[in-house]
Amino acid sequence: MVEQPMADLVAVAWPAALLVRLLTVTATIALARRPAPCRWVALGGSMAASVLTVTMAAEVIVSGQEVEGVLFQHAASGIVFDYAVTPLSAWFLMVLGVVALPIALYSAAYFAHAVAASRTAVVGVAFNVLLGSVEAVFVATGVIVFLGAWEVMTLATAALVATEYQERANRLAAYLYLVMSHIGTGCLVAAFMVLASRAGATSFPAMLAGDVVSGPLRDGLFALFLVGFGVKAGVIPLHVWLPEAHPAAPSSISALMSSVLITAGIYGLYRVCAFGLGVPDERWALALMFVGMLSAILGVLYALTQTDLKRLLAYSTIENSGIVVLGLGASTMALAHGQRAVAAVAVAASLVHVLNHAIFKGLLFLAAGSVVMTTGTRQIEQFGGLLKRMPWTALFFLIGALAISGLPLLNGFPSEWLTFQALLLGFTATPGLVRLNFPIAGAMLALTSALAAACFVRAFGISFLALPRSPAASDAHESPRLMLVPQAWLAILCIALGLFPGLALRALEPVIVSLPGLEAAGPIAAGALGMAPGISSFDYVYPAIFGVAVLGALVFALSLTARRGAVARQVPTWACGGALTSRTEYTATAFSKPLLMIFKAIYRPQRQVDALAGASPYFPQEVRYRAEIEPTFERYIYGPLVRGVVRAAGAMRVLQAGSLHAYLAYVLVLAVVLLIWLGGTP
């Protein structure tokens, strides 16, 4: 009897959530002139809708039962807006809800400072529209609804990126985002049209049954979908919009983009590329693995040299997106060789990383938002000593930094651990030369996670430790409690999922079962505490139990050094005889310099030092130093592309000269050509 009301609730949860969002949007617009209530209505409504979707998603995952329904039906035209919450959709919905809730709460306090009063309503509406459309993308069962929601999602994000439209850089970022997104959407529309015409239907179950297309056409469609979804997933070389758009948006929106928007691209790669076009081809798997590896390694390398905190986090998003795609690639490779159990492990690795990345990146962006709000700058070189001024934010950022570096006891570790398992199992399960991809990918993943650790030691250490490097940093103060609570929630999730990785993995089991071609050899989770991908006791891990050992050793260390009544003597740091000021501290640029030099083939660093000589060349009055790394993709891929498009547009202008006679002539010529062409066919 208790089951029934729950099932009823779940059946209407998504329409209800959509309704809540629509009402919220209406109320937000109505309250546009009163910023404070407007803000609370917009974000409170968003939280209510998120609670509904998370409840529904959790129920679908627990019961393994899909929820289907029809939102709108037009009998005459035959248009049906229906939806289905499959276990895969439910997983993505849950990821979205888990981070959207704290982000909305944070925004309620943050927007009061970060968004102009006159823009509150616009941002509130866009926030809800973005979340609603991403949810619609996840549950759409027809290509029309899917693409419609996809486009709304793009536009809402662009509006949010352009929140501070007064700055030219932000407008450019929004424009770049729109252009790149529409290149992607164009690919998607083309590919879906081919697929729909072959399938004779516009519903996903028919189009993505896997037997619709074959041969080279299938490969072509895969490539189109890879580009289309890859743009949103932010994988290299389609990533150019990401490091521009993320810093331009308000910080909580950046968190939303990194945790939510990226997953929409990942969802597409899953739904269509890997599990919608039939048994994957080996070449697809190679493409996915290559793109994943490239994104992971280049993403973290670029992140390492950034001095803008939010740009750094944006590049790190590219890296993590790469790790997710690498897991997906390993899974398709296993599927291409018929290794269903290995594919299941790889899918688990990749999907758990989607969740974990959303959590720790959300946390890092929120903490960065607190820092940017109080200091008014995003430059790491201007920070320093923030730990003493904002202790909680510092603690939360540190937890996020540890998690993103893939260190044990936090939630980055389980997903990287699983990805390694997938790669090693893939190596043992595939034949021939192609298996060597797996250890190469493993080595790349090891390098990526070690570089991520270096990157976040730098980001945390330079920003939060030692002495403040600017007046902005020394005047910094802690954020209001309302902004700390969401960070605390995400930090607790980082620790909980790090100690009990089995929790997330158990939730994944119905998702894995629901995907075509996968077959778990056994449970991947070993209770709530551990993970054991189950193939002939290859490897397993129980972080929480090992954590007790670490804790024991820590207690021993403390007992070794603790002496009753002894207080540590505080003395100034030795500064080689001079005064210790912020200028003697190591800078972020200096920190990453060795790696910049070692990987200079990739960075191609350029620097310019100008000394303005005074009376003597040995005592310059002023030294100007400028260093930059070459934006390889922007310069060598997108530069020629843009120039080509502009040139082509210039050439086309000859045709559109504004002369009515010429236009009439075009119509005539076209009519004649069509008559000849169509007249030729019987």
């Binding site: 540190l398 893939g406 260190l407 044990p408 006891l409 651990w417 090693l424 043992t428 030369l433 060597l436 250890p439 080595a443 090891a446 390098l447 070690a450 650790a453 270096a454 030691v457 730098r458 250490g461 330079i462 939060f464 430790l465 030692a466 002495l467 002939s536 290859f538 490897d539 397993y540 891990v541 129980y542 972080p543 139990i545 090992f546 050992a549 670490v550 804790l551 050793a553 820590l554 021993f556 260390a557 403390l558 070794l560 050094t561 003597r569 505080q570 003395v571 100034p572 740091t573 030795w574 500064a575 210790l580 003697t584 501290e585 190591y586 800078t587 200096a590 060795p594 790696l595 070692i598």
Partner: protein
């Protein structure tokens, strides 16, 4: 609590305690051998213990610009290294806490300690800490892929990533003398030198500001804090050497907990670690420290060796 769990906890305590007790001796032995090669007398063999005892008795002095991160750094570093000793087989062909994880957990745990120490180094405001942290993380990042590939190569040949299971499997198979093993061993030996801060990658004896790596990172520590760092570094070195000898030459390792095999295992382990220590000393005495920007070349040699080891084993 089951008997197995009690046994594991007891073994873990004994093994961690044993490694903690033996590690300072290893450091001093290498110092002593190095001194003898240079026609010096060198320190007495127990010097490591005297130093630790003295440092632990001293007053705690800390920088006034630092925060709790600076205090936490050495403690977390020490805790992770000590916990890591329970993940590797030493005398018995089983790791005390092998039920909690394998190679990836070991590497991750050591990385956690490194993260803690490098972060703490940035807390004093002195440029040396930052310089050391930057270089230490750089070298660790470069060494990581080679370390992983080298470990994968032995793990995949035994079909397990768990160190306890792996060593038991190796003992059952007997020494293979496969050329792949030799390549992987050579690759890992280079990584062990890099990870433990030995010449030609780092010089543990220097305090010359521009050449320090690890020493620069911990330059500001004094008294008990420094004792923890020094002790943990010594244990870490012993962990790496033990891992190397037991992965590639598990001769004499005890397969049961009876006194005689254990005694044999103790002698065998001490002998093998001593031989490896001699090798480390010889490398340190006959080479000059590499310029920082030459280290990547050395590490890529190791990466190449590890990859070749995998390739010739499985193709």
């Amino acid at each position: 609590m089951s008997a197995d769990a009690m046994l594991a906890i007891g073994a873990a305590l004994l093994q961690a305690g044993g490694m903690l007790a033996a590690a300072p001796l290893l450091r001093t032995a290498i110092k002593k051998m190095k001194a003898r090669l240079q026609n010096r007398q060198g320190p007495p063999l127990l010097q490591g213990y005297y130093d630790l005892a003295k440092l632990l008795r001293k007053e705690t002095v800390r920088s006034d610009t630092s925060s709790w991160v600076y205090v936490a750094g050495p403690r977390i570093y020490f805790a992770t290294v000590v916990a890591a000793t329970t993940l590797i087989p030493v005398l018995v062909a089983a790791a005390p806490l092998e039920a909690t994880g394998g190679i990836l957990l070991l590497v991750g745990t050591l990385a956690l300690g490194r993260f803690a120490l490098a972060t703490a180094a940035l807390d004093t405001g002195s440029p040396f800490g930052g310089m050391g942290a930057s270089r230490d993380m750089t070298i660790a990042a470069l060494a990581e892929p080679a370390l992983m590939l080298g470990l994968f190569s032995s793990a995949l040949s035994a079909g397990t990533m768990n160190l306890g299971v792996l060593v038991r499997e190796l003992v059952l198979q007997g020494p293979s003398w496969h050329p792949g093993d030799l390549l992987a061993f050579a690759g890992l030996f280079i990584i062990v030198i890099a990870e433990t801060g030995r010449i030609p990658v780092d010089n543990p004896a220097t305090h010359l500001e521009l050449t320090m790596i690890h020493e620069a990172m911990v330059l500001e520590y004094a008294g008990p804090d420094l004792a923890l760092v020094e002790w943990a570094s010594a244990v870490k070195e012993l962990v790496y050497l033990t891992l190397l000898v037991n992965l590639f030459l598990p001769v004499g390792i005890a397969m049961s907990l009876e006194p005689v095999p254990l005694l044999v295992a103790l002698v065998a382990w001490a002998g093998k670690v001593f031989l490896l220590a001699v090798a480390v000393t010889l490398v340190e005495s006959t080479n000059a420290k590499l310029r920082l920007f030459r280290v990547p070349e050395l590490v890529s040699v190791s990466l190449g060796l590890a990859f070749l080891a995998l390739a010739i084993r499985f193709l």
